[in-house]
Amino acid sequence: MAVTAQVQALTKKVRAGAYLTEKGLSLLEVKDQLLLMYLMDLSHLILEKASGGSLQGHAAVLRLVEIRTVLEKLRPLDQKLKYQIDKLVKTAVTGSLSENDPLRFKPHPSNMMSKLSSEDEEEVEAEEGQSGASGKKSANGTVKKYVPPRLVPVHYDETEAEREKKRLDRAKRRALSSSVIRELKEQYSDAPEEIRDARHPHVTRQSQEDQHRINYEESMMVRLSVSKREKGRRKRANVMSSQLHSLTHFSDISALTGGTPHLDEDQNPIKKRKKIPKNSRKKKESNCLNLVSLLEHPHARLHLPFVVA
């Protein structure tokens, strides 16, 4: 009795327009109410079934179906609001914005002003006259090594020692990526052994570049010209993959071991002396001199006949 009285009072109020809905209902409220109604109808049906009644054409079934459809239609709306709701909840729980919140990265004009005193500012600006970045000052960030822009040609004075050091560095890097060192690394590392059908790293690199070029050509409908250097690289990559070169030839790792660089006879044959035309051929003495210079060549191997005394 009290329930019906309450319900009647509510319906009277609704009909009188006591509850304003011109601004719409909150999605979360609607969801809550719908879920509650769903549960009530479901429990009513269970009661019916438990007392032995039939559910055929029951009004509650239709109501259930209707509520279910509405809930499913609300799901995309829910998705769209998910971000906002999560952020609100997080802010409510923690009390402040999270670290990754993009709202934290709004511009700070105060950081653009120089914090140095006025004299220092003038000095700095005079020095920076040549460089292009005169007015910019970074707001925050680590101090990076200053790289001057290349505007005017500068005298090149690299000493012999520096050149030697650079050469050594390059040789070391090349030696580190050679097959011998790689196998040693695999032997002593704890990582599981990977068996890959991998080709020589130069070959894979070249094939990747080729693929990139082909993709570009097909999407832009143009043909790109191939420079001599590219042609040479491509040829070398093809040759490398077709020979059993890597079985017997190992790259030079003397940069790491500290020995003298030894060159493979097959890879780097001694260049033969150029044939001088007969007219300009000099006298015997100069020929002897040439012979002496050949003997002095570090890789010379002259097969002199043994003279048995």
């Binding site: 050509e217 097909e218 409908m221 043909r223």
Partner: protein, 136 residues
């Protein structure tokens, strides 16, 4: 027409502003050298139900060891659009454009003569050149 000639088209795109359809073409010709252009025109025209005179091909490269060639193709909506939009060297391949054979030496001589002339005497030199050509 070869029986074993196969054409696959990829990356097909219609360009409405320049009134053409462009595509990448894979021509398969196993066991033979590359077929002449005219056969590919006809095949392409049949595939897209146009006349072969609006089909243009360029950029064909044969892969190593033969059998497959990849190039680009264009099909125009009509002959008028081809005359507008297509570059002259490709029109020349269809015979729709004739390149003027100018002698480089003569051009340079004329230019040097014009440098010496002043004002209205320059167009006189040009007419002189035409008179010379008619004589030849």
């Amino acid at each position: 027409m070869n029986d074993t000639l196969t054409i696959w088209t990829k990356k097909f795109m219609t360009n409405r502003s320049l009134q053409w359809k462009q595509m990448v073409m894979d021509v398969l010709h196993p066991g033979k050298a590359m077929v002449p252009e005219t056969e590919i025109w006809e095949k392409l025209a049949k595939m897209y139900k146009v006349t072969p005179d609006v089909t243009f091909l360029f950029g064909f490269r044969t892969h190593f060891s033969g059998g497959k060639t990849i190039g680009f193709g264009m099909i125009y909506d009509s002959l008028d659009y081809t005359k507008e939009n297509e570059p002259k060297h490709r029109l020349a391949r269809h015979g729709l454009y004739e390149k003027k054979e100018t002698s480089r030496k003569q051009q340079k001589e004329l230019k040097n003569r014009m440098k010496k002339a002043r004002g209205l005497q320059r167009p006189m030199l040009c007419c002189q050149k035409e008179r010379l050509q008619i004589h030849r």
